[in-house]
Amino acid sequence: MLTYIARRFMLFPLVLFGVTALIFFLMQFLTPYQLVALYVTDITELQKGPEHLENLVERHGLNDPFLVKYSKWLGSLLRGNLGWSRSARMPVGAALKRFFPSTLELVLWASIPIVLGGVWLGTISATRKDTLIDHGARLWALAGVSLPAFLLSLFLLTLFYTKTGWFPPGSISLWAEKLILSGEFRQYTGVYTLDALLNGNLAVFFDALRHLALPCVALIIVQWASLMRIMRSTMLEAMRQDYVTTARAKGLRERIVINKHARRNALLPVVTIAGAMIARMIGGLVVIETVFSRKGLGSFAMSAALQLDFPAILGFTLLITAVTVSANLVVDLLYAWIDPRVRLS
């Protein structure tokens, strides 16, 4: 098992290296002016106009062979220099550090109910195939897949904030914000719920939770649907297997047959999907973050893309790559834990 984990960890930097090479290769398709803008942060240089371009190309070695340019860029990257983000008005590294916690918090709080609820709903639906519960769950899944996140978010906001005042948008209330700015509340991670627990401040914890509720619900409804559908079909597949029939024939209780024999095997593809889904969520929360006024990675990436802010786009891509590779690593480890055959191979 340890060898397996070590091997997976060794692959981690290699994958990241491959991605950086791919990104850098794609960057070569930019126009010279756009490429220069990636290297030059001094506005006065750029303002000198196109006739000054050749000097800049020369000075920054943009005519050098691909490998030379790549090693220079990688060196800069390894020194932590991701460039200046025009859209965020700060260094890209600082922007990622600023926006990542908000998105991470939302994804973490939403992912637990998404995975548990999706698996549970899929199992129930499969074990009660063609009953009212199954039809209801499938209808729910269809609605979740079909309903635009924007509409769902606005509906939730109107119902649970505008009409009732229960769950406000944003990340935190005014009083909590003031407390944080006063310096009496220490920000360890930027994840408010976690920081509140570390500060022992339950009032801030519940306040942050209150602000998380609606975006989490919106996210859960949308994501539950796809996970539930996959779980249902893999569960149905598993329940048709001989080992399930054998388990039943041995006289095991139905709950044990479902939970220990069928569901454990049905979980394998779901784990794969769930890992990728959570990684994808981190970069794809534009709509939910916008409607619920949460400044996170999704809206940062959107703004960077709209402004052709290449350093920010590259920094964001690298971060998402790292998250995806990490999620895959976790998935692989879970796989090995769930299925002993993976360890042997």
Binding site: T41, T44, L46, G49, W84, A88, T158, W166, L306
Partner: protein
């Protein structure tokens, strides 16, 4: 057994939900957070360094943090000025404005005593001197205006590359001097608009604390370092996100793209403000902003006109309409487009693009003017009215009898046929018309021009595309935007900072914001600049009227720009917001000092 467990979980969930939500239910009849004002706007702030401010979003906000020498009176009009950090408004009557026989003019500002900066330092004349020296060496904000009036040459490259640092430094030393407690400016000749430049109440010429600036690694105030500090990037600017002013509020936190928090400065020289905290949130989604307003979690929002019906009759919400009679919306035709910009497509007059000098042809400019339906623009904006000349009716010497380009597709067709020797009509053209998402109605104006032009000839194509404000404004300055730039056409609002007719300079002067970017500075230098110079040196009303009517005529004859309409604006605010006022120009911005929350007795 299973059902009992389910019920237990349901009960726990209900308790948690109720506990979590209970705190948030607004109590009717009470004022939410009485000492805190929360405003919401869709766009963010570009920079907090006032001398580098280029956008309204930044400048209207920093005016609450900094102070200037003069300001427009609160609840007054932009035609009046009153002292701010100076003790009096200089005039010949009080002896602070003197004119030598050769025309050299001296304007002195006695500096207010016992004014504190937010860091506790006391304001001195040295701070004022440093401030204006920094403005003079800066290639941003009001730098060019002050160089023009005080040094006679606005272009910083002239000083840095042609005249040289020594001459530049000597000119600066001569232009601003300290005489006791007075900071004196020396103008080579009298200038009608000079005092008005100071009256923006701490926006573009905010008074800085020299020691603090130097401590932050800003320009140290030495000749040798001028070149290094003439234009620094935001990444390099040490006070891009820091402030230390003399205004009624001090900066607590700038969460870029999300919010800015200000706190009352208790030692403000006019006494502490009623509000303790001001928060400006960036909320791009209108539905969210409206919900926050309805719940009272936001006090003031600025909706687009088409959202007004959603707000009428909303309990606890007042609509405040403001006649923005000094803000003119223009569609600007660029005669010197960036040849590398993607917006000109093929870059040639071949039906698939336009050449960079496309708008140098006067027939194209006239055709565009005739093809633009101003009435439709006013309708789209929801507020405002059509204007006939380059200046709005509220400005002096507005000439209603001037001819203007009323929407006329037939005349537009005539001019299109005559343009570029008939080639434009035969081959057609294509370009991208960008608009900034900062002002959503700008999209409508872009589409109105697109519709008007494309209806005339199917070979004419205009692609309308929205850009975020930073990319849009970077494209204006040229070379900074990844989209290239300057672009072929801009939709922009121009703010006339007073009702003095000389404000037309911003559109027509060779060194004005428009002339220098839009490629007509050579023509302006020859035809408009002499008249503009005469205008600011002439004090006799009738003579001035003639000059400015001539300028309006020249603007029409040359079809320099497409003046669309003067704007209006609406603020939606909770009924507990008191003491809110806005002048007729955005220049003053929202003054948080006068605002308090509550209900009058």
């Amino acid at each position: 057994m299973r059902f009992r467990r389910l019920h237990t979980w349901a009960a726990v969930l209900t308790v948690v939900v109720l506990a979590v939500s209970a705190a948030g239910v607004a109590q009717s009849g009470t004022v939410n957070s009485p000492d805190t004002l929360v405003t919401a706007r869709p766009g963010g702030i570009d920079t907090l360094d006032p001398h580098y401010g280029s956008d309204i979003g930044s400048s209207i906000f920093v005016g609450n943090i900094y102070g200037g020498l003069l300001r427009h009176p609160r609840f007054g009009t932009v035609n009046d000025v009153e002292p701010d950090l100076a003790t009096v408004v200089p005039s010949s009557e009080n002896g602070l404005v003197t004119v030598a026989p050769d025309g050299t003019t001296f304007v002195g500002f006695p500096i207010r005593q016992n004014v504190l900066f937010h860091n506790g330092a006391t304001l001195t004349p040295e701070d004022v001197l440093y401030t204006f020296q920094r403005i003079l060496i800066t290639d941003a904000g009001y730098g060019a205006d002050f160089r023009d009036i005080l040094l006679g040459e606005p272009d910083i490259n002239h000083w840095l590359e042609e005249a040289g640092i020594d001459a530049f430094w000597d000119a600066i030393q001569l232009a601003v001097q300290i005489k006791g407690n007075i900071v004196e400016f020396r103008l080579p000749e009298p200038n009608v608009v000079f005092l008005n430049l100071f009256a923006d109440g701490g926006r573009y010429n905010a008074i800085m604390n020299k020691a603090w600036c130097v401590e932050q690694d800003c320009w140290p105030g030495t000749k040798e370092t001028i070149t290094d500090y003439a234009l620094v990037t935001q990444a390099e600017n040490p006070i891009h996100g820091k402030t230390n002013g003399t205004g009624p509020f001090k900066l607590v936190n700038w969460d870029v793209g999300s919010s800015v928090t200000l706190e009352r400065f208790d030692d403000y020289w006019e006494g502490p403000a009623p509000l303790k905290t001001v928060i400006r949130r960036t909320i791009p989604e209108w539905g969210t902003a409206r919900s926050l307003l309805e719940q009272g979690d936001v006090d003031i929002v600025t909706p687009e006109a088409w959202y007004i019906p959603q707000l009428v009759g909303l309990p606890g919400v007042n609509l405040v309409f403001r006649d923005e009679s000094l803000t003119v919306t223009f569609l600007l035709l660029n005669q010197n487009i960036d040849p590398t910009a993607a917006s000109i497509w093929s870059g040639q007059l071949d039906g698939a693009g336009i050449p960079p000098d496309f708008f140098t042809d006067i027939d194209i400019r006239k055709a565009m003017n005739y093809a633009f339906n101003r009435d439709a623009a006013v309708e789209a904006s929801g507020l405002g009215s059509v204007i006939r000349t380059v200046i709005p009716p509220a400005v002096q010497y507005y000439d209603e009898d001037q001819p203007f380009y009323a929407y006329d597709p037939e005349k537009a067709e005539e001019h299109f046929k005559a343009a570029w020797g008939g080639e434009a009509w035969e081959k057609g053209f294509k370009f991208t018309l960008y608009w900034s998402s900062l002002v959503p109605t700008w999209e409508a104006y872009a589409q109105i021009l697109e519709a008007g032009v494309e209806a005339i000839n199917p070979k004419f194509q205009i692609e309308v595309q929205g850009l975020e404000w930073p990319s849009y404004i970077d494209g204006w300055w040229g070379g900074l935007s990844p989209f290239g730039g300057p672009f072929p056409v801009y939709v922009l609002g121009n703010i006339y900072t007073s009702t003095d007719a000389s404000m037309v300079e911003s559109v027509m002067a060779s060194t004005g914001a428009f002339g220098s970017t839009l490629g007509y500075s050579a023509q302006a230098r020859e035809e408009f600049d002499p008249l503009l110079a005469l205008g600011v040196q002439t004090f006799e009303a009738e003579a001035r009227r003639e000059i400015y009517e001539d300028l309006q005529r020249l603007c029409y004859e040359n079809a320099l720009v497409i003046p669309s309409h003067v704007g209006g604006n609406v603020f939606a605010m909770r009924d507990w917001v008191q003491g809110f006022y806005m002048l007729e120009s955005w220049r003053r911005g929202t003054d948080f000092y006068t605002i308090w929350k509550g209900y009058p007795e």
